[in-house]
């Protein structure tokens, strides 16, 4: 070995060491082949202590007025962080909100939040449930005040943000960090696409995949299974709720009945479906797209032509949708209730 190549080797080793240390401290890794995230990490650099603080906050009912409800009351890990079995999310005093809680996954790629996109940044999202009388019924400044009285949180915030002090900014950033780690990218679908050893679609799943690409992928775009746009997918309006979706934000009639295209990952466990949770089973959703589309001035053009699928094709499509289940994500202990 020449002296100069030894030098290079040492340099390389040092570099590798630095890089490996760097990845220990950064719990955010972009899955192979995915687009760049939209979340601006430079304003909130990831750190293990911040993620842990965010996790504690996510699971702590101290965030609600009467300390009965935490974020996880409506966003449960085993159901891809949605509220299972309730169509409309239940909040404080048993009041019923007007919308179904969405799954929380791959949020680093979302440009807007809520079914109508009313929230412009992940950091600011938590203010909505905390301040909303039907959900957690608490005042944000008071939540911060309560945390300031807690020895546990004083020390957790100190570890996470070393210039210490508990502020609204730090609270929101820590909560975001935990949510940003909720990445689901290891379903059978992902493994097949990564060409992992001994993994392949069954014939039925493969047929379903091609049906999906023809009829669904325009909106439920791979690999996130959403294009993050607002569309009217032909659901008749529920007259007990009169929820006009995106129009609430833009006040533009052209946005009436448009809702954010949701991801379809972990669909098997995230029922009930749609913004108001009107469908309990995947078969009902498929039936909606094949025979339930209601026409109207804002209906998405791609859905104007009926989607014709026979019984068998519907089953194929469903089989494909079930390959989006990511058990590793749903049971990842790093995302669950912090026991300590």
């Amino acid at each position: 070995m020449t002296p100069s190549s030894t030098k290079w080797m040492i340099c390389g080793l040092l570099l590798a060491m630095v890089l490996s240390f760097a990845t220990i401290d950064i719990p955010f890794t972009k899955p192979e082949g995915w687009p760049e995230p939209t979340y601006d990490f430079s304003k909130n650099p990831m750190a293990a202590e911040k993620v842990e603080l965010g996790r504690q906050l996510f699971y702590d009912p101290i965030l609600s007025r009467d300390s009965t409800i935490s974020c996880s009351s409506c966003h449960l890990q085993y159901t891809a962080f949605t509220h299972v079995d309730h169509d409309l999310s239940h909040g404080i005093d048993g009041r019923i909100g007007t919308r179904n809680s969405p799954t929380l996954m791959n949020l680093a790629w979302s440009p807007s939040f809520m079914w109508d996109g009313a929230v412009n940044h992940l950091d600011m999202q938590a203010l909505a449930p905390i301040n909303h009388a039907d959900e957690m019924g608490e005042d944000f400044a008071n939540v911060i005040h309560k945390l300031q009285q807690s020895d546990k949180y004083v020390s957790l915030f100190e570890q996470a943000f070393d210039d210490s002090g508990i502020t609204g900014e730090y609270f929101l950033k820590a909560l975001s960090q935990f949510e940003l780690t909720l990445i689901s990218a290891n379903s059978k679908y992902d493994q097949v696409l990564r060409k992992e050893k001994d993994i392949a679609f069954t014939e039925q799943e493969a047929k379903g995949y091609s049906i999906f690409k023809t009829h669904c992928a325009a909106c439920h775009q791979e690999p996130l299974f959403t294009n993050h746009q607002f569309k009217n997918n032909g659901l008749p309006v529920d007259t007990t709720l009169n929820d006009w979706g995106r129009m609430f934000v833009t006040k533009n009639p052209a946005d009436s009945l448009k809702f954010k295209v949701p991801t379809l990952r972990n669909l098997e466990f995230s029922y009930p479906y749609m913004h108001d949770g009107r469908f309990k089973r995947i078969a009902q959703v498929v039936r909606h797209y094949t025979s339930g589309i209601q026409s109207g001035p804002t209906l998405a053009p791609v859905l104007k032509k009926p989607i014709e699928l026979n019984k068998e094709e519907q089953i194929d499509l469903t089989a494909f949708l079930l390959t989006l289940t990511d058990k590793e994500f749903l049971f990842n202990p790093a995302h669950s209730f912090p026991r300590r």
């Binding site: 009313a118 929230v119 905390i130 909303h132 400044a141 929101l172």
Partner: protein, 229 residues
């Protein structure tokens, strides 16, 4: 290494010399009624309607403060975001430092928070969402907030609440204010609330809480109430 030390010394010295060439400028924002300063909360007589208007609180954001001469910006404050709150006397007095030899004729600032800041996530200081100046549903900063009561308001407890904000097209509500000033170390900017109430009808306009055309109309009235005697 020597070079680094020199650079360091140079940087410290240049920092010091900049400071040495600066002078203080304080701007005091004083709520007033019919030309007289008032302390909020306050009850004021409305000449036009012959009744009294209760003013409970007045809070607004000022940003991007600049000094201007002949339409040229001669100084602008870095990271310029201020929440002015009638309940905190300190917040109403801005303490700035400007270059000693500067000449200017106009004070310019934005009433409200720019759209980039509105979509940049959680922030601290005066922009911390615990300040109660951030909408959690349909997110964005509230640029101007005025609350109180008057018997003409057909609302609960006769309350009026003006929460004026919105940053996205077509409902952007940030306003630029320009005031002719005579250079001085202590400036006083009056915030003439009587002028605001003169131009609205409390019977019809009393609760504005979302971005939209009404908000834009009201904040254009609000932008005119700042003046320098």
């Amino acid at each position: 290494m020597k070079k680094l030390v020199l650079l360091f010394i140079y940087l410290i010295c240049s920092q010091l010399s900049i400071n040495a060439q600066n002078k203080p400028l304080t701007i005091n924002f004083v709520p007033s009624w019919a030309g007289q300063p008032i302390d909020i909360p306050s009850s004021q007589f409305d000449e036009k309607n012959k009744d009294s208007i209760q003013i409970e609180s007045l809070r607004y954001y000022l940003s991007n403060i600049q000094l201007v001469k002949k339409n040229k910006v001669v100084w602008s404050e870095q990271n310029s975001y201020h929440l002015i709150d009638s309940e905190s006397a300190d917040s109403q007095i801005l303490k700035l430092a400007i270059p000693k030899k500067i000449k200017y004729t106009t004070l310019r600032f934005q009433l409200g928070i720019d759209s980039t800041t509105n979509v940049s996530g959680a922030m601290g200081g005066d922009l911390d969402p615990t300040k109660g100046m951030f909408w959690s549903w349909n997110t964005g900063y509230i640029n101007f907030k005025l609350e109180g009561s008057n018997q003409r308001c057909p609302t609960r407890k006769n309350q009026y609440q003006f929460h004026l904000g919105g940053y996205a097209y077509p409902n952007a509500s940030i306003q630029q204010v320009e005031l002719k000033v005579v250079p001085s170390a202590d400036m006083v900017v009056g915030v003439n609330l009587d002028q605001f109430f003169d131009q609205i009808n409390l019977q019809e306009q009393n609760s504005t809480m979302t971005p939209g055309p009404e908000t834009q109309h009201l904040i254009q009235i609000a932008k005119e109430i700042f003046n320098v005697k």
